[in-house]
Symmetry: C2
Subunit: 217 residues, 2 copies
């Protein structure tokens, strides 16, 4: 019937397609089981391709992990690119909910799965650092100011909460957290972010609170 090979259809041999299949399978495995618990044969089986192709397309298992990390970092950078403070909760909820609860399996969780590779650690640390600074900036952070360090610390605690949530949701069946929808998460996350980065909640008496976060207004 079909005289010419339809380009949109499934070709029997397509390098970019199998490459992508490997990336998808690897991302899911790495995010759920971690780096060293995942074997290249697992990934290849999930992707439905031969094991040797991992070495061919990504040079090594670590290369594949680095590629996964790169795409995860890209997506994170894109979806968290300077969100205003009052949209942070929505953004985290979207990330931890998986955007489709199936299609994209938790870049946040993946970002945190150690690989033993030093470059991966550098990438991870860089992302965390810039994310924290961006978040702190949205909360009024300016380096050098009095109290700047604590504000940055608070922003990093927000990141820690987001990562912890992503990990708990993707590796345990702790209900109701594991099955919570994005909508379920927004309100609590808003309170979490607000408590950490919002204006100081009118501390009546406790003497602590050294230089609370500078009010945005």
């Amino acid at each position: 019937m079909k005289a010419s090979p339809p380009p949109a259809e499934h070709r029997r041999r397509d390098a970019s397609r199998t490459r992508q299949a490997l990336l998808d399978a690897a991302r899911g495995r790495f995010a759920r089981d971690g780096y060293s618990s995942t074997t290249v044969r697992d990934i290849a089986d999930d992707a439905g391709v031969n094991v040797a192709l991992i070495s061919r397309y990504f040079a090594s298992k670590e290369g594949l992990f680095a590629a996964c990390l790169a795409t995860a970092v890209d997506e994170l950078r894109r979806s968290t690119g300077d969100v205003p403070l009052d949209r942070v909760a929505e953004s985290i909820a979207a990330q931890t909910a998986g955007i489709g609860s199936g299609a994209v399996p938790n870049q946040l969780a993946l970002l945190f799965r150690s690989s033993g590779d030093e470059r991966a650690d550098e990438i991870r640390l860089g992302v965390l650092r810039t994310s924290g600074e961006r978040l702190a900036t949205a909360a009024g952070w300016q380096p050098g100011r009095p109290g700047a360090d604590e504000l940055l610390l608070r922003a990093q605690l927000v990141l820690a909460a987001a990562i912890g949530t992503a990990l708990l949701r993707s590796t345990t069946r702790l209900e109701p957290l594991a099955a919570a929808t994005e909508a379920d998460l927004v309100a609590p996350l808003r309170d979490l972010v607000g408590g950490l980065l919002g204006p100081p909640p009118a501390t009546p008496d406790p003497p602590g609170h050294p230089g609370g976060p500078t009010p945005t207004a």
Copy 2:
């Protein structure tokens, strides 16, 4: 010189001592590197004993992990035994700070390192579940009440934040979070817990907030 063997001194052969050495070494490795990245030879070398003793004393690597998990769970249960709501932040700060920043390396982080073992997952899930319920109870939770589910969800988010903080602190060098002292962490954590579990912060207009947590007073 020494005629009789001094019991308080270091005997050359002491089963309980080497057993404890193995436990300590294993807990550190598991918490920092995860289960599958840690080899039994690593642990044995850290403890300064022979590899075969792991199988002798704990039957297997998984048995050793289970033993570590059990002690961690014990310590967690003891140190978080029904703390009042206004002491939760201190408790989390103490846990994530490591109580001595060196001696006890993060039970929280260890609690979360997957092992692939089904029993370990059960233990972990049980601890998380009861911890969440205890925390929610301290915040006024009563099962069945309207809004009870969201309050439990909020308590579990506190746990996620604590675990994320512990993991971030023990596996990255993200400053200032990684080097923050227990005292540095208390105030931000108090705001985090307060934001999630405290009395609803006098929401002026947003229609959400379905049945906020019942005020303690």
